[in-house]
């Protein structure tokens, strides 16, 4: 181990990342122990060790359902969605060179939700042939394209000659979000009771619907998002200097930007498809980590994924317990934590937003 170099925060990043791994594991275990059934920690530990040892006949059906069909998939979905949302936020902020860019704030989530709602409401009607062809994948795919379309539009509107205007980006994001929201609202208006119940879930977000089936469906997409990290990290650092500077440093910026937009849309699309709209994770997590380990994406991105996963699992635990046996929509919790955070960044960076 060499002496730390002034200004080199990679050593600290390694320590923080290792701590975040431990924290994620700890929070996941706690999450498995929390719930309205009143199962004790010791019981959960016993069940887990039974399962690991392969003694499945020793587990009662009720316990099996509670732990392995409800809590485990729910915790896993929370981890996947939290990691994806936080990563999408970090990458989008790097792309737009602004710490305030968040898929939820600038309409990308609304676009993804529109895609999902289109499938729910029109899936039985004239989209039926498409639905039959895509099957269960229709929902995430529609959400992906909804998110992709919004991100592309937003980038095209906010960027002129390689310079992204922050004010334009935020305002265009509000407008795009409003358009997507209006169409969504219209679809909700003309939907039937069954669809309505499904739709309510989207608007507020939640991990309540987690099943193994959804986990299996979401995992390949989110693994794809994780795989993009090493290919985008150095390029994102260079982009912070500006687009021309990134090209001068040898990066194919056009390819880089396309890849980032694609990955952000993928992460948001899958998250929205399986957990609804959950805001502010993408803004809080990268911002906190930048303060602690610095903004270099090679270390920021993995740490962001870990802390995002942890944060969403914690938020979900709060939802499940605070009004038990009822459940709070998770969007309420993340917004309560995230919105004041956003305001605090805004207050300190007021000069950056020159409208």
């Amino acid at each position: 181990m060499t002496a730390p170099v002034a200004g080199d925060r990679r050593g600290r990043a390694r320590v923080v990342t290792a701590s975040l791994v431990v924290l994620l594991v700890a929070v996941s275990v706690i999450s498995l122990c929390v719930g309205p059934s009143g199962m004790s920690t010791a019981e959960v530990a016993g069940l887990l060790s039974d399962a690991i040892a392969g003694r499945f006949d020793a587990i009662s059906t009720v316990n099996h359902v509670i732990l392995f069909d409800i809590r485990v998939p729910r915790t896993l979905l929370g981890a996947l969605v939290g990691a994806a949302l936080a990563l999408a936020g970090a990458m989008m902020q790097g792309l737009f060179r602004n710490p305030l860019a968040d898929p939820g704030l600038v309409g990308v989530s609304a676009g993804a939700a529109l895609g999902a709602v289109l499938v729910i409401v029109l899936g039985g009607a004239f989209l039926a042939p498409v639905m039959d062809f895509l099957g269960i994948g229709a929902l995430p795919i529609a959400a992906f394209f909804g998110g992709l379309g919004t991100t592309l539009l937003l980038y095209a509107i906010a960027t002129r000659r390689g310079q992204t205007s922050v004010g334009t980006m935020l305002l265009a994001g509000i407008a795009l979000g409003a358009i997507a929201g209006a169409i969504t609202a219209y679809l909700v208006f003309r939907s039937d009771d069954f669809q309505l119940r499904e739709l309510t879930f989207w608007s507020m977000g939640g991990l309540g619907g987690a099943t193994w089936h959804k986990i299996l469906l979401a995992t390949p997409f989110i693994v794809g998002v994780f795989l993009a990290m090493p290919f985008t990290a150095r390029g994102l650092d260079a982009l912070v200097l500006g687009e021309a500077e990134a090209r001068h440093l040898g990066f194919n910026t056009q390819f880089l930007k396309s890849l980032i937009i694609l990955v952000v849309a993928l992460a948001v699309g899958v998250s929205v498809a399986f957990a609804g709209i959950i805001g502010f994770v993408g803004i809080v997590v990268p911002h906190v980590l930048r303060l602690v380990i610095g903004p270099e994406h090679r270390t920021l991105l993995p740490a962001t994924a870990l802390l995002g996963a942890t944060l969403l699992i914690v938020a979900d635990m709060i939802c499940r317990t605070i009004v038990a046996p009822a459940e709070l929509p998770i969007g309420i919790v993340t917004a309560t934590i995230g919105a004041p955070f956003f305001l605090s960044i805004l207050l300190r960076k007021r000069g950056v937003i020159d409208l």
Binding site: T2, V5, A6, G7, D8, R9, R10, Q93, R97, N98, P99, R234, D237, A238, V240, L241, G242, A244, E245, R247, H248, L249, G250, F251, N252, T253, R290, L291, G294, P295, E296, V352
Partner: protein, 261 residues
């Protein structure tokens, strides 16, 4: 050798550059001077590959610029931007490290960063936040980053190039001299340097060759003595001046006899 032939760049109907030809030889410091809006920055943007919508031929060491991949170009030339702000709290060390090659070991990269910071007179600034530095200090951090990118002026017999867009713009006199010393040393060691300069005295002092740009055309080109004439000053800069003349009653500071203390 950087060669530009018949370069024309248009913005709408107006030609920003009209049939410009020039060359930058390795081993030399070439200064580009001219009044505001003459097209100096456009020339730099074209030869760095930033500006694609250009007519004409641009060749770097015999090969068309467009035929280079971005990473190949990055290994051959580095570009110092005029001003560049950062949205995120990078330390000086982290910014400079962006210029170092990923092929180096972490220890070598750290050593390279430290050496580059010494060269731009920012020794010990590695741990400072880039955003908290003054404009002139920020510019020198970028110079250090750019130096890291093309650390050896010649690699395997192939020269490398430094493209500097007003490298002295926000610097005090001492650091103007230091910066141009660094650029000239780079050229003396076999690399090529093209720098946009506003200060004609500095251009006269450091450049092996001066290219005068006026209204999108090359107005003059040659050694400082050939180019900086009373006639050129009047025709291009619209200033009636006696080159080499000494003001009679006002104090003046000439960098010609100065060197950084």
């Amino acid at each position: 050798m950087l060669e530009v032939e018949a370069l024309t760049v248009r913005a709408g109907q107006r030609a920003i550059l009209d049939n410009v030809s020039l060359s930058v030889a390795p081993g030399e410091l070439t200064a580009v001077v001219g009044p505001n809006g003459a097209g100096k920055s456009t020339i730099l943007k074209a030869v760095t590959g930033e500006l694609r919508a250009a007519q004409g031929i641009i060749k770097l060491d015999g090969k068309s610029l467009a035929a280079y991949r971005p990473y190949e170009l990055a290994q051959r030339r580095a570009v110092l931007p005029q001003a560049s702000s950062l949205a995120f709290p990078f330390t000086v060390h982290e910014v400079v490290r962006l210029g170092t090659s990923g092929a180096l070991s972490p220890a070598d990269r750290a050593a390279r960063v430290a050496a580059a910071l010494i060269r731009v007179d920012l020794n010990g600034f590695g741990g400072r936040f880039f955003q908290e530095l003054s404009g002139g200090e920020q510019q020198r951090v970028h110079l250090a980053r750019v130096l890291c990118q093309v650390w050896e002026p010649i690699v395997g017999g192939v020269p490398r190039y430094l493209f500097l867009d007003e490298p002295t713009a926000s610097l005090d006199l001492r650091h103007q001299l230091l910066t141009l010393d660094t650029a000239r040393n780079f050229a003396r060691a076999g690399g090529g340097v093209i720098a946009i300069l506003h200060d004609l005295n500095l251009a006269a002092l450091y450049a092996d060759k001066i290219i005068v740009v006026s209204a999108g055309r090359i107005a003059a080109s040659g050694t400082p003595r050939e180019v900086l004439t009373d006639a050129m000053m009047r025709a291009v800069f619209g200033v009636s001046v006696h080159v080499g003349g000494v003001p009679a009653d006002a104090p003046f500071i000439l960098p010609h006899s100065a060197h950084a203390a």
